[in-house]
Structure formats: structure tokens, C-alpha cells
Point group: C2
Chain length 351, copies 2
Amino acid sequence: MMRNWEDYVRKVTPYVPGEQPEGTDIIKLNTNENPYPPAPGVQERLKWLSADSFRLYPEPDCKTLVRAIAKHYGLESAQVFTGVGSDDVLAMIFLTFFNSEKPVFFPDITYSFYDVWAEMLRIPYETKALDQDFLIRKEDYYEENGGVIFPNPNAPTGILMELSEIEDILLHNQDVIVVIDEAYIDFGGTSALPLIEKYENLLVVQTFSKSRSMAGMRIGYAMGNEKLIRFLNDVKYSFNSYTMNRAALLLGVEAVQDGAYFEECCRKIINTRERTKSELSRLGFAFGDSKSNFIFATHKSIPAEEIFEALKKEKIYVRHFKKPRIENYLRISIGTDSEMEKLIHCLERIL
Amino acid sequence: MMRNWEDYVRKVTPYVPGEQPEGTDIIKLNTNENPYPPAPGVQERLKWLSADSFRLYPEPDCKTLVRAIAKHYGLESAQVFTGVGSDDVLAMIFLTFFNSEKPVFFPDITYSFYDVWAEMLRIPYETKALDQDFLIRKEDYYEENGGVIFPNPNAPTGILMELSEIEDILLHNQDVIVVIDEAYIDFGGTSALPLIEKYENLLVVQTFSKSRSMAGMRIGYAMGNEKLIRFLNDVKYSFNSYTMNRAALLLGVEAVQDGAYFEECCRKIINTRERTKSELSRLGFAFGDSKSNFIFATHKSIPAEEIFEALKKEKIYVRHFKKPRIENYLRISIGTDSEMEKLIHCLERIL
């Protein structure tokens, strides 16, 4: 018997995260993780963590971590919001700010969680097609809307938008919240962060999951003017008062404090990315000029899905999206030099 | 200038968590934390945690922890959902299942997050007054509604409802989701868990924050039939794919596996609670028969707020709610024997 309760279930089509295969002999280039470990201070601090303190609730306002992030970027604590990965931060932003009857705008090819959040929260939205080179056309975002969100660099294309273009979008959107999702900004982009002083409706979202090698600890953050952060915190406190656990708060501080290690890791990944681009070109792949820790590539003759399956057989995992316009592309995360060499050798055999 | 974007902000009155005062010389009896450390295995496992693994995302399905919880309760993994504390689990339940136009029912005196979630998510609700002895009247929940939720034992009263009464409520509510919030069940109550085999619409929610001394790690869980858990996971994957970090997943397994330590801690807290009840009686307090790790007490002559402030001056923190019907009550968490002796001595001086 079908009971009535099923009529009132929020039925959704959830976001599907990349596979998380297990094993030490695999090369995992499918979820844009960092191939290098977190800053040495993280391991050091971990050694001194006492389980006894776990009996107590963590700071509800995450103030130790918020303060460390604010200090790193030269902000006030009141300008920073933290959450359980940038997905949690973005979900809170959708819930807090996207309550208009007008549609929220984002690109047709972009982070595939945006439409999931909108559908789940019943927020109207409209996607704007990237041009034939997979670039965002800023003019598409000048119409009246209920909010604007896009990643910069965009995902899964890896292509960066210039700050002057972002400012053009902001100039045309001062009555709605504009969110720049900068998960990949540290791999060669210029952050829109300085613009938060000029535009009170701008939120810049970043994460510890990519450039800070902390995907496993779930730390994301938003930066914006105090009023936005206060509204965001009010909704957060209406959802879960204690989101980030004691380990994430303490270890996150260590990850953000080590500037030298951070820069070295990013530089290594950028170098590996540029070398990988040459190799992929040589092998007949085409791709945009990625400024992220992945390359979004299509091959001139072999279908993406075939390459995807062939790599998987060799225990090399990349990401393939079965979606319109991009089904013939592979998103390849940047690993270590040695991992990328193995990938190239493997591709040479396959092609 | 007030910009239009403010019109579309979700304006809420957030839940206010208990104070988190810092310092080692305080006695903290205000947020129902466990006075004993987590199971020894947690500290042991912590020693072997490697920060290197943090560069990788955690399991999106939390399967290691889900399996351990399922095993502990003799369930299948498909019957268990985990989240970032039971608040996260409960918020997900509200979002997933409470989508009717009919009001959700819960007591007028209860966990003060229920009305916050309902308001935030714009879910209609109706509170049902506890009787003069602060008992839930089961008949109040027999009318047509959009869902039923209450804690057992109830918070902040600590009073337990018999399983037969819970079953009466279930018998009258087979077309809506019924949630029994068992945050405090391990301190002398009988769980409604066996009823999930009989009632497909029942969810039993528990937490590691109280009886397992892991408030600081944020681990909560719901148990129910596979269909309910699947709907809940779909919404979770539409909100945040990776909620629980690697530390919480690994250390949570250790906390749930040590049955002997768990039982010893609960027994100690129950003994301390019963001793504290005698002392409080002697000092002129009245209270219901708490089966939780706190006592909800009122004094025959001194107003609760006065006692609250006097204790605070002595660095003893208890909880006082400025709310109708309960403003003359204090919620006193059960600490160690020595902490409770200090409380009693302090009360003797104050009264």
C-alpha cells in the first residue's frame, strides 16, 4: 500500500559526485583533488589534538578559523563566513539570498550543483549558453534577474574571466546578489575579492578543498560585506548551530597560515598543468586555456567516452559528463608530474 | 541607500545555542555535554590519523560510519542516515518530509530548534501544550497534520514517554512522517527503534553528542526503513555531497564500537543524576522525573533567573530559557560527581 506521506516528500534529482575508487595503485584525476598533502603544520597540530576536548561542542561561530581566514586576506572577521566545504556555503547562499520570483542566472555549462540547489529549493533559474569557445558572455547577465552565480575560473571548462568583465556584470546587477565561486582561483586567476569593498552585493566563495589540500576536512568560506555575512549566519544558525567540528576548525587554521607552502604547491600544479597541456596538444587534444587544476579536453578523433573507459581499465580515473555540448570532453585533474607522465604514456598507447 | 536585494533575503530568527564560555576553572552545565571523554579508542585512532589523507574527499555516503552504526543496532546500512550532528539530520528531515500544507505538530515546550526550522523553511506548524505536569498528551497528536516530531525524553523537561504511548501516536499517524528525537534516550529511556520494522513512516534520530561524548565532532544519525533513508539521502546529495569529514567518520566508528565504555559512562551519569535529584529536593527544588543527562528544576521560593545569575558569578553555567511557562526553571546538565557537589555547595550558599 502506498501511504500518503510519499506525496509530501521533496523529490529531487541529486548531484552525483565523482567516483571515489579505493586502492593505492590507482591514479585519481577525477575530482580535482590536490596531489600534495596539506601544509606540514596540519600534521603537526594533529599530533597534539586531544580527544578529550571532543566531548565539548565546537565554537558555533567558528571564530578561530574565521579570524585566521580574515587575517590572511586582510579582512575583518565580520566579513567572513565558513561552512562544511564550499558546497555547504553555496547551499546556504541559495537559501538565504535567492528568494525572488525572478530567475537566478548561471551558465549552461558550469558547476553542476547550481541547478540541483535551485531545483531542490524551488528557486526559478535560467541558464545562459556559453559561446562556441566556452566563454561566458557578460551581456547575457545584464537582463533583470533574481541573482547571478558562476565559477571563476568556470568549471568544468577551467576558463578564467577577466576582473574587468566581472565588474561589468556587477555594474549591471546592483539589486541582486552576485556570487563568484572561486574554488579554482589560486591556480592562476585574479580574485574578485577586492571588489567586495565597492559592491555590497558581492559574495566571493572559496574552499580549502583544492589549493589547500583539505578536501577531506570540508572547509569552505564566503567573503563579503558585513551585512551579507550577518544574513548568512542567521540562516546558518537556523539550520545547524554547530557545523564545523573541532578538528576542522583547528586544522583549518594551520592550513591557511602557511603561505609559503601554499604558494609552492600552487606553483608546482601550474607548472605540471602547462607541461600537460603541451603533451595533450601533441597527442591531438584540444582544450581552452585552463587556469584551474584541471584541463577540459576533447580529442580530434577518438570519442571522450572511449578514452574514459580505456583509462579506467588502466586504473586512471578522469571525469566524463554525459551532458549536452560536453559529452565529448574529459575533465582531467592535475596530479603530480609522475602521475601525469603515466597518464600521457597511457594515452599514447590508447590513441 | 537600501538596495532591492534586501527584499529577497530570507529573514529569520535564528536558534540561540547555549553560551560557550572558555576557561578551565568553570563548571559548564549549560549545553548537556558529557563530562567524560570519548571512548579510549577515539584517542588511539586519532594518534594514527594521517593528514596526508585529508587531500582526498571523504566518502560521500559515509559508509564506514553508517556500517558501524547499523551493526551496533542490528540494522542494514540502508536503514541508517548520518549527518553533521543531529541538528543537520533533523534539518534534512524537515526539508525532505515536511512539505504538506497541513501543520507539523510538536509540543509547546520542547527542543527550541523545531519552530526555527519550520519558520526558516516556511513549514506550517502547530504546537500542542504540555499538561500541567509537563507531560505530552498523546491525544493532541491524533488530529490530521503534516508530520509529528518530539524528543523522547522531551527537552528541556527530561520527561520520558512510554513506548506504548508512542505506538498509540504512530497508530493514529500512518500517513505522515513521525520523528522521535532520541538525543537523550541512552540515559534511562527505551528507544522506539524496534518500531521502525512495524511503521514505515517512523524515523528515530540519535546523536553522538551526549551519551558518546562527541559533541565536538558533530555526528548525528537517523534510523528508519530503507525508503525513508533513500529519500533523505537524495536531499542530502542535493545539499552537500560530502558532509562528514574524514576525522568524524573514522573517529565516529571508534566511538560506536566500544559498548562497555559507553554503558559505564551512561551508568555513572544516571547515578550522579539520581544523587543530584535528592540534593536538589533537599534544597527546595521541584522537577519532573528526568531520564536524561539534565534536570529541569524550579525553586519553591527563589526565582530561576536570580539563581542563574548567582551561579554564573561563581563560574557555574546552567541554562535559563526566557520563555512562557518555563521562565522560572533552570536546565542543569549532569556533570561529574565532583562538579555536582560544587554546584550543590554553591546553591546552599545562594539559597
